[in-house]
């Protein structure tokens, strides 16, 4: 039995096979292939995409039937040459244009989708118009397909190309994003976590504060034993809180407030009634847990600012409002307004780090001078991971 494959079919099929393989090969290998060319990555990509598209056009040669009238192999190669020349013209121009557009778009900071949609739009326009041009260049006696048919075919082709483009660029982006997000988030979280844990281990009480307090106690013990005793007990409570054995990371707000009260009592004695303090806490907020040592650094800052102006009584107001859904911690002092470019010390930095660790994306810290000078910490859903 003879299997008769006409020359034409065999040549067309092998043409499709050869050029599509070449295209795919180029697409995956262009970086290595062009590495000796000493041109920028952008130009490498540009060249590669042009060649890939050229292969694509060569592969679909049989869709342009005027070239398929060959009877011998040599006639086929003449047809192939013509098709190559024409395709080259119609491929290089649109591809170069699209790539320029894409590059230009990337320097504008648009959203991913908007940028891609514009590129896809241009792909459609260029591919369809070049195909129609090519079809129209074929003289009508040879033209098998109508312009409408060509239009529909090229719509299909450009659709495929656009889909490939979107797929590839999205896959690139998704992969990159995943990789970096994972690595960076992990290392960042770890860093923060270890730091917070270390912080919790250390006695948070400012050494300046400790030695100044001891100095005050030394003086008070000479003539005012009662006050010295009060201060010693408050200092002991403060250290008990910061050096507790269990090393808990979170504490109920009322414990935090009690600790701050001890701290403020000491400051009050040290500065001999130059401080006026008021504290109010919502009953619903008292049992809610927050990271340990979140309140004291803020209050310490407020005391420092409140006492900055000589001959003026420092007024500190601590207000904690809210419930299990949302907590607002407001700390007011009557010192000079927050400067425009406020720089923070170790204490406030540790508070910010802790908030970022415990309540990622669910907290804000605001400084305001009007109507009253205060710093506000808001936490939404504070019990989610406490």
């Amino acid at each position: 039995m003879h299997i008769h494959i006409p020359l034409q079919t065999a040549v067309v099929l092998s043409n499709v096979f050869v050029f599509s393989s070449l295209g795919i090969f180029l697409y995956y290998r262009y970086e290595i292939l062009f590495s000796w060319l000493n041109i920028s990555t952008f130009n490498q990509r540009r060249l590669a995409i042009c060649l890939v598209f050229l292969c694509f056009y060569m592969a679909i040669m049989s869709f342009y039937p005027c070239y398929n009238g060959f009877k011998t192999l040599s006639e086929f190669f003449v047809c192939l040459g013509y098709h190559f020349l024409r395709s080259a013209f119609f491929v290089f121009l649109p591809v170069l244009a699209i790539m320029y557009i894409e590059r230009w778009l990337e320097t504008r900071n648009m959203t991913f989708l908007k940028r891609r949609l514009i590129v896809v739009l241009f792909i459609l326009i260029f591919l369809i118009s070049t195909n129609i041009w090519m079809a129209m260049l074929i003289d009508p006696t040879h033209r098998v397909a109508t312009i409408t048919y060509t239009f529909l075919m090229s719509l299909l082709f450009s659709g495929i190309v656009s889909a490939m483009y979107l797929n590839v660029s999205y896959a690139n982006l998704a992969e990159k994003r995943l990789r970096f997000e994972r690595e960076l988030e992990l290392s960042r979280l770890n860093e923060l976590k270890t730091k917070a844990e270390l912080d919790a281990l250390q006695a948070k009480v400012n050494p300046h504060f400790l030695y100044n307090t001891l100095n005050s106690i030394a003086e008070l013990s000479l003539h005012q034993g009662g006050k010295a005793r009060q201060m010693t007990i408050a200092l002991a409570e403060l250290f008990r809180y910061s050096l507790n054995k269990k090393n808990e990371m979170v504490m109920a707000i009322e414990d935090e407030v009690e600790m701050v009260e001890n701290y403020l009592m000491i400051e009050k004695i040290r500065f001999e009634d130059k401080l006026e303090i008021s504290i109010s806490i919502d009953e619903a907020a008292k049992r809610i847990k927050v990271p340990k040592f979140i309140l004291q650094p803020l209050v310490e800052n407020a005391v420092k600012h409140g006492l900055k102006e000589p001959d003026k009584k420092g007024i500190i107001r601590i207000q904690i409002k809210g419930d299990a859904n949302k907590i607002d911690i407001m700390i007011h002092d009557n010192g000079s307004p927050f400067p425009e470019d406020i720089q923070i010390g170790y204490g406030l930095k540790s508070v910010m780090d802790k908030l970022a660790l415990f309540y990622p994306g669910r907290h804000t810290i605001y400084f305001e001078n009007e109507p009253t000078k205060q710093v506000t910490i808001s936490i939404t859903d504070p019990q989610k991971n406490a």
Binding site: S216, A218, F338, I344, Y366
Partner: protein
């Protein structure tokens, strides 16, 4: 031959002032407390006015540091520092002053400080503080590296940690701050001002962009004198460097 030294005590806490007074009263034949000040401004005024031979100066004052007080003095007495805790500067204080006293104050240290004072006052007469004060002062100033940036939101402002900032984008006279979690915040400063203020982690790469070096994931050649930087935020923002910043970019990234 005991001289009587006139002194001023600069100390913000009343109990600490009383304690020093009390301890100095033991040496009444040598030292006379002419005045006390509880903040920097008052101290400068009082020292310039009463012209004491020696001052007891607390490093931590509510309105300024003891070093700032020294810098602003017209009249230059001997200095004995009192400090609670200042690990980084203690040695330098030693070379800057007659002596320093650590809190809680101890009698024997005061005795030592006073005998040192006597030695200095009777000696060459060169006041140790004022010799190379400027250079010491600058060396002592704690290097406050900025770690945050304040950003306005209406009448309030909030703090953004510099490590969370991906890039700054100029917008008219103002600037947008883009953070890692995709927030776009409004900042009151011009890029040129920010460029001055920010640490070396940040680099101006274009007329309207400052980027965080730590947030760059890829660098591509864009043309002969420009690079494309891909930044590590959600959108992988691309910034093309400006030709006039080429040298800075090349140096910063070693490309």
């Amino acid at each position: 031959m005991l001289n009587l030294y006139k002194t001023v005590i600069v100390e913000d806490e009343a109990p600490a002032r009383r304690l020093l007074n009390e301890l100095l009263s033991e040496h009444r034949q040598m030292i006379h407390v002419a005045g006390e000040a509880d903040n920097g401004a008052a101290a400068i005024d009082m020292i310039n006015r009463t012209r004491p031979d020696v001052i007891f100066l607390d490093i931590q004052l509510p309105d300024m540091t003891g070093l700032d007080v020294l810098k602003q003095l017209e009249y230059k007495p001997f200095v004995i520092f009192t400090t609670a805790y200042d690990e980084y500067a203690l040695k330098a204080f030693d070379s800057l002053s007659v002596d320093y006293l650590l809190k809680p104050l101890k009698e024997d240290r005061i005795v030592r400080a006073l005998s040192k004072l006597q030695h200095f006052a009777n000696g060459s007469g060169i006041n140790p503080v004022w010799n190379n004060f400027e250079s010491l002062f600058n060396g002592l100033k704690p290097q406050n590296k900025a770690t945050t940036l304040s950003v306005k939101k209406g009448t309030k402002f909030t703090l953004v940690q510099l490590a969370d900032i991906v890039y700054f984008e100029a917008y008219d006279k103002y600037t947008f701050v883009h953070t890692t979690n995709g927030q776009k915040l409004f900042c009151d400063h011009m890029l040129a001002v920010l460029e001055e203020k920010l640490s070396t982690d940040f680099i101006r790469v274009q007329k309207s962009y400052i980027v965080n070096k730590q947030k760059i994931v890829e660098i591509h050649k864009y043309s002969n004198n420009r690079y494309t930087l891909v930044l590590n935020n959600k959108d992988f923002t691309r910034v093309v460097t400006g030709p006039s910043y080429l040298d800075a970019v090349k140096e910063a990234f070693g490309v």
